[in-house]
Amino acid sequence: MHIMEGFLPWQWCLFWYMVAIPVVAYGIIQIKKITNEHPESKPLLAVSGAFVFVLSSLKLPSVTGSCSHPTGNGLGAILFGPAVASVLGAIVLVFQALLLAHGGLTTLGANIFSMGIVGPLAAWLIYKGVIRVGWAPSMGIFLAAVAGNWLTYVTTATQLSLAFPLPTFGEAFVKFMLIFAYTQIPLAIAEGLLTVVIFDYILKLRPDILEKLKVITPKDKNLNEAV
């Protein structure tokens, strides 16, 4: 999902920065608010950030014969909301841009938009939707993380097609979707499974914090204890 340094015309770099900065700023305010209201949730915030660090460093092979990586953005979005996940995503993207030459400073705004905004927002919406329908939290976590990962890559493909609509936007979109989105399907599933593993563990040890953050309802807590 990293658009490489210099690979977007400057107008687009500016545009995506303008979209990303307010969201990250709002995310920072949210972090302050949440950690003030629920100081006991701080370790989970660290875990969410750490999860992004670990997962986005795992470059996995895919059935298409190319490599790509999970993003880890679903967990933070589900626990703390999409704006907080934007901040966590931005931290990792800066680390990778400066030390790994993955992504870049000029394309940082665009990369935050895909991995830090669209992915987490989709994950959060899907999780809330699944819970409302009444399915088990694990199912919601799985679907949300899969969507968060996959839509990150669909967003990258869209951003590149917008910047390089050659010969047409449609054809460019097919080309970039083949590179990113198709490769990503098995990896998105892997990310979904990993997110369920870590979430189950949190649910087992500290259901009280999840309840305070309104991730689960007391009913789900009892459900887990019964299993």
Binding site: F53, S57, A97, L99, F164, F180, P186
Partner: protein
Amino acid sequence: MVDKKSIILLCLVAIIAIAPMIMYGGLGEDEGYFGGADGAAGDAIEETGYQPWFNSIWEPPSGEIESLFFSIQAAIGAIIIGYVFGYYQGQDKERKRQEGE
């Protein structure tokens, strides 16, 4: 501490990661396999005649050093997760012990 569900899920992840290496067994980077999707997109863009207008201010000088930074990235994350979960695990144990008294 580790229940069956987690183990099954982790095995599935391992299968997802291993399957492509079996499917394309014997093929490697030289045959065009297992390159990064990010790089593939970069090549596709360069084919349109676009020239990147800005280069990374610093690049890892070799693949070895790049893997060093990726390992550091993973290690930072793993330490934090391990620390917090270990702490919670201990808290949980203590709570149960006190409840038992």
